[in-house]
């Protein structure tokens, strides 16, 4: 930790690092205490401003996160005292808190060692609030990025490729619903968790998939977004260590994210799995993911994230495409298809079957899906057909499939790669 002579620049760096890391924790703690997301956000910002003024002069405190929390809390209490409406509201909140005192979270000891240290971790409550099914689906991911990942509104807007003003409006509307419809800040009980947890995991997964394969825009991958999703998945897994699907989701994200450097070529073009330089895959991340897959698949029936993680692990472990355990991958896709029947899973399974039994077998499965409305305008389906047709020497039909994919492709690198294939 920097000494008393910390320069303004160093202090700013320290504040930014602490803020980024601890914002969600800080915010959750304040929301739990004051029951108001807007108030919590405002005093969090004020505490950061205060840190930027004080730390260069007084030095960075030993526990910067705790300093920020204490400062923010004082500001909140001051405001409540000043503001009659808030004061009345606080009285109501206290009465509510007494009525339904939540399970003790204070002694969980799950808070990360650094930063806020021994303070209770209230982020799980905030996760469930931000992803509440009463909120519009598109707003859940935005709120989660804003409140838990600590992105600013312009950053969240960029993540969803919408104008900042539009995103600001959406966030205001969502927060208004939380406040006025009184969506509670609470972790669902064990009986509700099976119903609510998939929604939370889905939000983190959707943030990741948008980062992993951008649906539109100039770039194929948006690593910042994928990294935020990995960070959120880590927090969720730490807060819910016994939930195997939380472990499965983190495992899946790590095992896929481990390939990020090999997934694009020098010009940002997509590189297919079989053509990737496996030496550029992130080995420590793969190791970590593999350990988590084991956790996700033991002690009960596997969930969809655990199964997908197991498939990703098989790819990551193989030295090359030929030595990949395609039989095992097909078997896992069968399990996945039973858990979550979807045409997209069926496409992936067909590709794995083609690797196991040859392109003809895979193509037959793909063609059987031709009537699926959800696969119309889904480029991976057309690309998979094109690839199998090429391998069967049916060039004309392959070109037609690639042209179909080209029309539906959302990013320029995807389009460029398809044009190249068509040119060949």
């Amino acid at each position: 930790m920097a000494g008393e002579d910390a320069s303004a620049g160093e202090a700013r760096v320290a504040v930014e690092a602490v803020f980024r890391e601890e914002r969600g924790l800080l915010l959750a703690s304040l929301v739990r205490r004051f029951g108001d997301l807007d108030l919590a956000e405002e005093v969090t910002s004020e505490a950061v401003e205060a840190a930027l003024r004080h730390w260069p002069v007084e030095g960075v405190p030993a526990r910067p996160g705790a300093w920020l929390l204490t400062t923010a809390r004082r500001r909140a209490v001051d405001r409540l005292r000043r503001d009659q409406a808030y004061a009345a509201r606080l009285a109501v909140l206290r009465a509510d808190a007494e009525r339904a005192e939540p399970a003790p979270a204070a002694d969980a000891g799950s808070a990360s060692g650094a930063g806020l240290g021994e303070l209770p971790d209230d982020r799980l409550q905030l996760f469930f609030t931000c992803t509440h099914p009463a909120l519009a689906a598109e707003d859940r991911a935005a709120l989660t990025l804003r409140c838990l990942a600590g992105l600013t509104t312009p950053e969240v807007a960029r993540a969803f490729l919408v104008p900042t003003a539009t995103m600001a409006q959406r966030i205001v509307r969502a927060k208004k619903k939380i406040r006025e419809a009184r969506i509670p800040f609470r972790v669902p009980g064990p009986d509700e968790l099976p119903e609510r947890l998939p929604g939370v995991l889905q939000v983190v997964y959707s943030v990741f998939t948008e980062g992993y394969a951008a649906s539109s825009g100039p770039r194929l991958q948006r690593l910042d977004l994928a990294e935020e999703a990995v960070r959120l998945a880590r927090i969720l897994h730490r807060l819910l260590p016994a939930e195997r699907e939380a472990a499965g989701l983190l495992a899946l994200l790590l095992l896929v994210h481990a390939r990020r450097d090999a997934r694009t070529g020098p010009e940002g073009e997509p590189v297919l799995l079989e053509e990737q330089d496996r030496g550029r895959w992130d080995r420590p991340m793969i190791e970590e993911g593999r350990d988590l897959v084991v956790q996700a698949l033991t002690g009960g029936p596997a969930g969809p994230y655990g199964v997908q993680a197991a498939i990703a692990a098989l790819h990551d472990e193989a030295a090359d495409v030929e030595s990949t355990d395609w039989a095992q991958i097909v078997a896992l896709y069968d399990v996945l298809l039973a858990l979550t029947p979807s045409p997209v899973v069926a496409v992936n399974r067909a590709v794995a079957v083609a690797m196991r039994d040859g392109p003809g077998a895979g193509l037959a499965l793909l063609d059987a899906l031709a009537g699926e409305p959800r696969l119309r305008g889904y480029p991976p389906y057309a690309v998979a057909r094109g690839d199998l047709l090429t391998r069967l020497g049916r060039e004309g039909e392959a070109a037609a499939a690639y042209r179909e994919a080209l029309e539906a492709a959302g990013t320029e690198p995807e389009r460029a790669a398809l044009r190249r294939r068509l040119g060949e």
């Binding site: 009525r99 339904a100 419809a181 009184r182 969506i183 509670p184």
Partner: protein, 116 residues
């Protein structure tokens, strides 16, 4: 916090029953709401054919028409106001309401509080 449950049931027969739930289901639900001490008010509405719509134009002209006519199978069949701590509790009660089953739906809306 008060919430209004707007009960949009499927088609209702003469006795107020619907194919997916019986009058006994409604009575049991009503009793549960009252026993829980959360009941504020509530009514079940008479058949839709008895509904009449009134509109007043900008010039103050009054128009009375028969209806509304149901555009869909779901129509407002009744309402209930309950007083519970938060939205999750209100949603739980809505889910228990016989009107939410099968074709029906219950819309949950907080009652605006204009008090101090």
């Amino acid at each position: 916090m008060k919430y209004m449950l707007l009960i949009h049931s499927g088609a209702v027969d003469e006795q107020g029953g619907a194919p997916e739930c019986t009058v006994e289901d409604w009575m049991a639900y009503d009793k549960a709401v009252r026993d829980a001490g959360i009941h504020v008010s509530g009514e079940s509405l008479a058949d839709l054919v008895t509904a009449t719509t009134v509109r007043v134009s900008r010039t103050g002209e009054r128009t009375v028409t028969d209806g509304p006519f149901a555009e869909t199978r779901e129509l407002l069949g009744g309402f209930l106001v309950i007083d519970v701590p938060d939205l999750d509790a209100a949603l739980d009660w809505a889910a228990r309401c016989p009107g939410s089953r099968d074709g029906g739906a219950v819309v949950v809306r907080p009652v605006a509080d204009f008090g101090a």
